[in-house]
Symmetry: C2
């Protein structure tokens, strides 16, 4: 199961990198220059998540957004920072703030999904 380099992967990653914020599949499809199948985009994105290149955030609209991992290694890839979804410009960005929590004994946390919704700096 070794990964191969394909134009599709490069195009997807380039779009997300250029955007500088989390993107949904449809946003990526809209921004990308070449024509890529929807299912393929999802597969590429999920593979990037497995590889620790991207992380997935579920916003309040129930959609999946994918953001670049910044300094996440494979072993310690819990993306425990807040995300901010602006209701005006519709963008979802990673905030530097870490999520701190303590959970009751016996619970085993595998994933953290924290999204703040409101109006971002630019739009207010």
């Amino acid at each position: 199961m070794k990964r191969r380099n394909t134009p599709t992967k490069e195009a997807v990653l380039s779009v997300i990198t250029k955007a500088g914020q989390a993107m949904s599949q449809d946003a990526i499809e809209g921004e990308i220059s070449i024509d890529i199948n929807r299912a393929t985009i999802y597969r590429v994105l999920n593979r990037f998540c497995e590889d620790g290149v991207l992380h997935k955030v579920i916003a309040e609209d129930g959609k999946q957004y994918f953001a670049l991992c910044d300094g996440c290694d494979k072993t310690h890839q819990k993306h425990q920072h807040f995300h901010f979804k602006c209701t005006v410009c519709e963008t979802l960005e990673c905030l530097p703030n870490e999520v701190n929590f303590s959970i009751p004994r016996g619970y085993h946390v595998e994933n953290v999904n924290c999204v703040l919704t409101g109006v971002c700096k630019k739009c207010s």
Copy 2:
């Protein structure tokens, strides 16, 4: 726009109360004794949210879960506590832990959606 009491409303609220945890539309439809249309269930749930009776949580499956509000008045109904979604028993519960965060200047937060995913106490 005054609210009316209907069997549907009572049935929905009773199911959620009895469950003691957040529920999705399909779970409610499955547990409920009378036959209620899907769209109606959503409308009832959203009305309860407007009235501050329930609050809505988006889990990692992208689905909406509705949980009873505990001590939330209408003016201060930010549900800034963590939620825990168990991947084994599939339930979503409210944790007592409050969400604490500080956001960069200029951002205006309207809603908080924090969900931890993993294995709950009972299932581990």
